[in-house]
């Protein structure tokens, strides 16, 4: 069954879009990532114009993240205070990112920049997570009890001012690292057109050393706001939010997120990290291949209407 998308201006298969939304929603609920880093490339591969894919994807991410976040809220697995501090940095970062994006658009190399950021960030984060979690799984098999948060461990982070207590995360750290992480993620999110969960989740685990069970909910919580901001910015600046496309993705995405959140609860933390690492690395490899192998069609066209509609 085909349906016409009024903003993307093409006709797509309803079931294909529903399947994409559901699958990405499932992964989103499971790993606490918005799923934008999977959804945006998937939509572009299926022929949706990149600008529309990025904006409508962000719209879908809002619903899927809220659906997942509410699940974690019931389990009291969200650190609201940490979420708000990350968000403050994120909002500032996304405005900076939008500004950088506009600058690079003038230089005409946005496609390359997006692909390269995907490959570099997804590639390095994916491999790091995979290596770390595989080691953790090995140690768990040997019967050693390990936790990422080593008590009494003091790094440079603990020397910073503005210390705050984060009860849900059982942390007493400076507010500076979360704000900076939020900001960095916000910049990347605006450039890559994603919520930034795939960077946020590992940053919270490895840099802030938050307990994994709180990480997923907190990440989803702040993604709702970042994705909301991105959607409104894209709608007002570029008119590229396709409501029909977003609705289709949402319908299956929110359901998928619920199943995903339940499935995620059954997995061990290190297994969850290993799976997310494999997925992130997979997307990075797929995009790297596109950059390295000679494309079938060397030419590409972009057009702007010269006569009024």
């Amino acid at each position: 069954m085909q349906i016409y998308l009024p903003i993307a201006e093409l006709s797509v298969n309803v079931f294909m879009i529903l399947a994409m939304g559901g699958a990405v929603g499932f992964l989103s609920g499971m790993f606490g990532v918005g799923g934008g880093f999977l959804l945006t490339p998937l939509l572009i591969f299926s022929g949706i114009p990149p600008a529309v894919a990025i904006a409508s994807g962000a719209n879908q991410v809002i619903g899927a993240s809220l659906s997942g976040a509410l699940f974690h809220w019931q389990k009291r697995a969200i650190d609201i205070k940490m979420g708000l501090i990350l968000l403050a940095g994120g909002v500032a970062g996304s405005f900076i990112g939008v500004w950088i994006f506009a600058l690079l658009k003038q230089l005409g190399q946005t496609d390359l920049l997006i692909s390269l950021s995907y490959v570099v960030f997804l590639g390095s984060i994916g491999s790091l997570m995979l290596i770390e979690s595989v080691r953790a799984i090995h140690r768990a098999k040997k019967g050693q009890r390990i936790s990422l948060k080593k008590s009494g461990q003091h790094s440079w982070i603990h020397g910073l001012p503005f210390k705050m207590r984060f009860k849900s995360s059982k942390l007493y750290i400076s507010a500076i690292p979360p704000v900076l992480i939020g900001m960095a993620v916000g910049i990347l999110a605006a450039i890559m057109g994603v919520g930034g969960g795939f960077i946020m989740v590992p940053a919270m685990i490895y840099i802030l050393r938050m307990p994994t069970n709180v990480v997923v909910g907190t990440s989803l919580f702040q993604i709702i706001f970042v994705a909301g901001l991105v959607t409104i910015l894209h709608a007002s600046e570029n008119q590229t939010v396709d409501f029909v496309l977003a609705m289709l993705l949402l319908a299956s995405g929110v359901v998928g997120a619920q199943f995903g959140a339940q499935a995620g609860r059954r997995l061990k933390a290190e297994q969850l990290r290993a799976l997310l690492g494999i997925m992130v690395l997979g997307v990075a490899l797929r995009l790297a291949v596109d950059l390295l192998i000679e494309p079938e069609e060397l030419y590409s066209l972009t057009s702007t209407l010269t006569t009024a509609k």
Partner: protein, 265 residues
């Protein structure tokens, strides 16, 4: 339903054209070409997967004694014009990235030619060029960067546009696409893919006799979004911020609804 009704409409119009052709005064050099389009207003709704427009018409004999022989009909449908930038990827430091580019001004977003036989056999190259009939006779006017004009590079970019547009079915050439039904009546079916640009189109019907253009008839054609699709599109254009906020609120509602439904079950 829609298909059968448009078919009936087409049949009716064909009949009307036929009547008109027969009733027209038989003066020499009087109007020699009468044409009509099956559906001059194409509505793009949620079920839109492309459309077929039927163009039909009648060619009159010059006078009672000369039958309308040795005549050729060429139908050209042009969509709203657009500026196109063609970019080429090149391998730089091991990575395939956009390197060269060329912008062209006012290229039709959609361009279809249907003819009774191969257009090269119908008229001389100069004639086809003058009326921009056929892909290679389209005027490719360079945009900002005029350095490449006349070079091999320029031709390569031009050919790339034609190739990609043909692949997307936005450039269509069909010799034999115009069929005569008897001596005077002809019909042509033109396919529009789902990705056509909305806006005003023009359908030109050229009548050639012995390689000379004897008559041109122009009919406008509109492709417009309608119903829910039109509502969404206009809202996104006219009140973009409100549109964005509503999209966010609805997304939030969907997420909340799913969470509530799943909590109960």
């Amino acid at each position: 339903m829609r298909y059968s009704s448009s078919l009936n409409q087409s049949a009716f119009r064909l009949f009307a054209v036929l009547c008109l052709a027969l009733l027209l005064p038989r003066q020499a050099d009087a109007q020699q070409l009468v044409t009509d389009i099956s559906d001059p207003l194409i509505k793009v709704e949620s079920t839109f997967t492309g459309a077929e427009i039927l163009l039909f018409g009648a060619v009159e004999a010059e006078n009672m004694f000369v039958r309308a022989l040795a005549k050729d009909v060429v139908v050209v449908v042009r969509g709203p014009s657009e500026d196109i930038t063609a970019r080429r990827k090149e391998k730089i430091a091991g990575i395939w990235m956009n390197y060269g580019s060329q912008t062209f001004k006012d290229i039709p977003s959609y361009y279809a030619v249907a003819s009774t036989r191969n257009i090269r056999a119908i008229a001389a190259p100069e004639v086809l060029q003058r009326y921009q009939i056929g892909f290679e006779n389209l005027k490719f006017v360079p945009g900002k960067n005029k350095n490449l004009t006349g070079t091999d590079e320029f031709e390569k970019f031009k050919k790339a546009i034609i190739k990609i547009k043909k692949k997307d079915k936005l450039f269509v050439e069909s010799s034999g696409g115009v069929r005569f039904l008897g001596n005077t009546l002809f019909r042509a079916a033109i396919e529009l893919p789902a990705i056509v640009t909305v806006g005003s189109y023009s359908a030109d019907v050229y009548l050639f006799r012995d390689g000379k253009l004897v008559h041109v008839q122009n009919s406008p054609l509109y492709i417009t979004k309608s119903g829910f699709e039109r509502f969404i599109f206009q809202m996104a254009q006219k009140t973009p911020t409100t549109y964005g906020i509503i999209a966010v609120l609805i997304a939030l509602f969907c997420g909340w609804l799913a969470a509530v439904v799943f909590r109960k079950s």
